[in-house]
């Protein structure tokens, strides 16, 4: 390979890795819910986008900085997640196998239409003075938002990992995902643990939404695409390991930037979705292989 091609690749590669961090952050919430409760929350993407809209509302109404607005967004999303699992999803599980899926769809529809009613179908974005422009990383310059998102992803994932490893509740969440009956017999209130897991997942999703909103424009219907990406991340990276999620994110991020680099911007997302589909098809048993 000649040096020019290599040098030209350095930017998309670095951008791909940074983007991968954001994708991993986005996938965290889905991974947690799927890992613990074996539920694919199809409203995941929309919940993330709604967090971006929430921050947008605070930004436009009172000029609150998006990252700062997370002090409100996180507890709100936490509570929302707790309520959804405790009062809606737990009942859905008892109804039928498709019920949680369909209900999540309903929630997705509700969120999309709410967003469209309140903020119209035109695309919006989050802005902050420190998030504008590029930053030099030696070899190349990248948009600041990419770097910020990457750092946020690292921080959140580390915090979450330590929480799951060290605290009683964290361990209980992990245990309940490995053997529900065993967890019950040890004195774990699995219903409450599931609610907490969903709540934590939603909190990370709120964070993901804000950083996503700072990096890219969004519309009420942007959510589905990110559900697919998040799902792709956990299929590629596996469940139960932060490193795996990170790698999954980076694989998709690189796919996007490299295909954009070689084929043009219009092809990026096509390849990303294609890879997700191919991995799904090649590993039909998913991660568990049960």
């Amino acid at each position: 390979m000649n040096m020019e091609v290599l040098a030209g690749l350095s930017r998309p590669i670095i951008m791909g890795v940074l983007l991968g961090g954001l994708y991993a952050l986005i996938a965290l919430g889905l991974s947690m819910v799927f890992g613990v409760m074996k539920l694919i929350n199809v409203a995941h993407g929309d919940l993330m986008i709604f967090s971006a809209y929430f921050a947008y509302a605070l930004m436009t109404a009172w000029g609150i900085d998006p990252i700062l607005s997370l002090t409100m967004g996180i507890p709100l999303w936490f509570g929302l997640g707790f309520a959804i699992q405790k009062y809606v999803m737990s009942r859905a599980f008892g109804i039928s196998m498709e019920a949680p899926l369909i209900i999540a769809f309903g929630i997705s529809l509700i969120l999309q239409s709410l967003a469209q009613i309140i903020w119209s179908p035109y695309s919006r974005g989050l802005t902050a003075p420190y998030a504008l422009g590029g930053i030099s990383l030696g070899i190349t310059t990248v948009p600041r938002t990419y770097l910020l998102s990457f750092i946020a992803a690292l921080v959140v994932m580390l915090v979450l990992r330590e929480f799951l490893r060290r605290s009683y509740l964290g361990k209980a969440i992990v245990a309940a995902s490995q053997d529900k009956r065993g967890a019950e017999l040890v004195g774990i209130n699995t219903g409450r643990v599931y609610a907490f897991a969903f709540a934590i997942a939603m909190a990370t999703t709120a964070i993901a939404g804000v950083f996503f909103g700072l990096t890219f424009p969004f519309t009420p219907t942007s959510g589905v695409g990110f559900l697919v990406i998040a799902f792709g991340v956990i299929i590629i990276g596996g469940l139960g390991s932060m490193l795996g999620t990170f790698i999954g994110g980076i694989v998709l991020g690189l796919t996007q930037t490299l295909s954009g680099h070689f084929l043009g911007a219009a092809w990026q997302m096509l390849f990303v979705y294609l890879i997700v589909f191919v991995v799904l098809a090649v590993r039909p048993q998913g991660i568990f292989g049960r």
Binding site: V174, A175, Q178, D179, R181, I188, G240
Partner: protein, 247 residues
């Protein structure tokens, strides 16, 4: 069908009275009554699908009785959730162990003391478990799935001990294990009883369980068919009750 008629122990720790239990529309337990006194080892014997595990799960709250009551320490626990029953002092070492495979041995044990009452005594209980099963301390940072069958069973028992139980339910602890390992496990069971914990033991291995137990119940197809002191059990009547062969 033979039953000792004085099932009216007033000092019973666990009293099961006339319990019916269902899996969906299938009735698994029929008018089951059983008593465990404090400090005893009681054996529950029966073949496969006799309802032994169902009974254990009903005590633990995984299944709720459709009829009848379950009293523990004078309190009706028939409608409680499993995690609440653990808090009251009943600990089940489940069939198939149900340990957390991707977590370390020490994490598995620590989770045993999850309920609020047991947490303050955690380190103390952990030491005791390691005394019963030194091999667990050796392997404490290994993932539970890397343990051998016998070690996993020890882990399950140890985990059950961590919740400061008054009553422990052992469901088929010797299943699939070599006799030597089974001996070690039963040695631990004796040690546990010596510490004052009451034990209800479910076993397919009739002779083994009768050796350890004070009293025995035999269950067949969801009915209690025999209830006797272990020492008085004759092989013939056991066989009849177990297999239901009319003589």
């Amino acid at each position: 069908m033979e039953k000792d008629s004085q099932e009216t122990f007033s000092d019973a720790l666990l009293r099961i009275s006339n319990v019916d239990a269902f899996y969906g529309t299938f009735q698994a337990l029929w008018d089951v009554s059983l008593v465990v006194k404090p400090g005893e080892i009681v054996a529950l014997i029966g073949s496969n699908a006799s309802g032994k595990s169902t009974l254990i799960n009903t005590i633990s709250g995984v299944i709720h009785p459709a009829r009848g009551t379950i009293e523990f320490d004078g309190r009706d626990i028939s409608t409680l959730d499993p995690f609440q029953i653990v808090t009251l002092g009943i600990s089940q070492v489940p069939e198939g162990r149900r340990i957390f495979p991707e977590m370390t041995v020490s994490d598995n044990l620590i989770l045993g003391s999850y309920n609020r009452q047991a947490r303050p005594n955690r380190d103390q209980n952990l030491k005791r478990v390691y005394e019963h099963f030194p091999i667990l301390e050796e392997r404490k940072n290994q993932l539970a799935k890397t343990l051998s069958g016998g070690e996993q069973q020890m882990l399950a028992i140890g985990r059950g001990l961590m919740s400061d139980p008054k009553l422990m339910l052992f469901d088929e602890i010797s299943l699939g294990l070599a006799p030597k390992v089974t001996e070690e496990l039963y040695k631990a069971v004796r040690e546990i009883r010596a510490k004052g914990i009451t034990i209800l033991l479910v076993e397919q291995n009739v002779r083994r369980s009768l050796k350890e137990a004070d009293r025995a119940y035999i269950i067949k197809a969801g009915h209690i068919v025999l209830s006797k002191n272990a020492a008085e059990c004759q092989e013939e009547e056991i066989r009849q009750a177990y297999f239901g062969v009319c003589s």
